[in-house]
């Protein structure tokens, strides 16, 4: 158990390896995976770290965070997603366009590898509803859908003409997926009706048809997350330093190529690009964000709130904070990871 707020965080340092993403195990409450890259991801190897929270070393001290194991990869690792069906399986996204599936009980090598993306794979998401399926998004603009037992991807969406930074399955509808991109849009796709947009040139520049395109920012959108309690509500984080909450309940799944989305809340405060957003899995109105301004922040997004939106600032990091993630089973516990090579776990 972590002590209450205002205690120092539990810290794990991975010297030489800057973090790119973290993920809490959906099976083991105290286990965290970290995707990392040597030399800030510019050149060199990657590492997948498997970390766990132990008991406190002595009374009053934060619990010990330790690295149980790591796996090495040729290129930097940018994201990681735990399997929803096998507690020891985990997929990683790499800068060389490859995706690897690891069994953390084994040593050294991955158990499967896929090479289809032509540029950096930047996000992975394992479906919580169709538990045999995961999605990847890449700087090549595509989103691919995979099952671990097949040698090739199941579906490829030409989602954007520029980097697709993140793709995430809806927590409520099994075939609905949202993406965000360099092009400043969030798109919602229905995987049951894959087709090409009539406005695109299907010979030279085909584009998959989205059911809804949300022009969410004038700049790049680096991250999004679906609200777990309110259907078709999501948050975005973008290079323009803004965090926004979007209501897209007007979406009609029987139509395609609609443009819309209602911005119901804007959360200014970060001083540089917002790199990651994640809703609290236990609450409909609490959002965590991570930014290149070296902070991780927690916001109250309740429409009934009159007080301050900003609930907490976590600022011990000394470099870009690139990832944050809520503990799935211990309410109020948040982890952040950064280019300073530090994973911090703390209570908000």
């Amino acid at each position: 158990m972590l002590p209450g707020p205002n205690f120092p965080p539990s810290v794990l340092q991975t010297p030489g390896f800057a973090h790119y993403s973290l993920a809490w195990s959906p099976f083991h409450s105290n286990r965290i995976a970290l995707a990392s890259s040597a030399n800030f991801g510019l050149v060199g190897n990657g590492r997948l770290h498997i970390a766990s929270m132990g008991p406190a070393q002595n009374p009053g001290a934060p619990p010990m965070l330790q690295c149980d194991k790591f796996f090495e990869s040729q290129d930097g690792l940018y994201d990681v997603a735990w399997s929803e069906v096998h507690e020891n399986h985990i997929v990683t996204a790499s800068g060389d366009g490859s995706i690897r599936l690891w069994d953390i009980m084994l040593n050294n090598f991955a158990i499967s590898a896929w090479q289809e993306h032509t540029r950096e794979v930047f996000s992975l998401d394992w479906s919580n509803i169709k538990k045999d399926t995961f999605a990847s998004s890449s700087w090549d603009g595509t989103v691919k859908i995979w099952t671990p037992d097949r040698p090739r991807s199941v579906v490829t969406l030409q989602a954007h003409h520029s980097c697709a930074y993140q793709a995430l399955f809806s927590p409520h509808q099994p075939d609905v997926l949202a993406t965000c991109s360099t092009d400043g849009t969030v798109k919602i796709f229905d995987l049951r009706t894959p087709s090409y947009a009539p406005t695109s040139n299907t010979f030279t520049n085909p584009m998959s048809a989205a059911v809804l395109t949300v022009p969410a920012s004038g700049g790049e959108i680096l991250s999004l997350d679906w609200n777990k309690y309110r259907s078709f509500t999501f948050a975005t984080g973008s290079v323009d330093k803004m965090v926004k909450v979007w209501d897209c309940r007007m979406v009609n799944m029987n139509e395609t190529n609609k443009v819309g989305g209602i911005c119901e809340l804007q959360l200014p405060g970060h001083e540089y690009a917002v790199r990651k957003v994640q809703w609290n899995p236990h609450r409909p109105d609490v959002l965590a964000t991570a930014s290149y301004d070296m902070t991780c922040r927690v916001w109250n997004t309740s429409s009934a709130a009159n007080g301050p939106r900003l609930m907490h600032i976590h600022d011990p990091h000394t470099e870009f904070v690139v990832g944050c993630g809520w503990s799935l089973y211990e309410e109020g516990v948040l982890a952040s990871c950064a280019w300073d090579g530090r994973l911090n776990v703390f209570r908000v």
């Binding site: 794990l12 340092q13 190897n45 194991k69 040729q74 069906v85 509803i129």
Partner: protein, 141 residues
């Protein structure tokens, strides 16, 4: 990109030198403590954290791994072989721009071969997510 890279503190640099020179191998108290909390061959960073925890306590300082990996005050480089080096962004940029990529740390060939060992057997059953708690049966909506 960012202009603010990790800061180094002079006094910590000096302490970091003492840390590097410290004879952990022959410190019985440290070795006994290690044996009681860690496995036979702990990962390098686990070992480093344990050494730091111990050293900080006996020396009354608060060094972090970053202090140990940053440039030493006396330019001595007795950092253990398997401890990853860390370059600053500027140092790295220089190496890349001057084509000296062979001097870049953590840039070694890693085999892409697949594991031939049999995968582990899953024993855990899926846990319901907090937002699925109110739902009657198995999956969703």
């Amino acid at each position: 990109m960012s202009s603010s890279w990790p800061q180094t503190i002079i006094s910590n640099l000096e302490m970091a030198d003492q840390f590097r020179a410290y004879d952990f191998e022959n410190d019985i108290q440290f070795q006994q403590g290690m044996a009681s909390i860690l496995s036979q061959n702990p990962a390098p960073d686990v070992l480093m954290n344990a050494k730091l925890f111990y050293f900080n306590r006996i020396a009354g300082v608060s060094l972090t791994p970053a202090d140990i990996h940053s440039q030493s005050a006396s330019e001595s480089s007795s950092v253990t072989e398997d401890t990853p080096q860390t370059l600053t962004f500027a140092q790295l940029k220089d190496l890349i721009e001057s084509g000296r990529t062979d001097e870049i740390p953590n840039n070694k060939p890693i085999s892409g071969e697949l594991n031939t060992a049999p995968p582990s057997v899953s024993l855990a059953s899926a846990r319901r997510k907090p937002w699925e708690k109110g739902e009657g049966t198995e999956s969703n909506v």
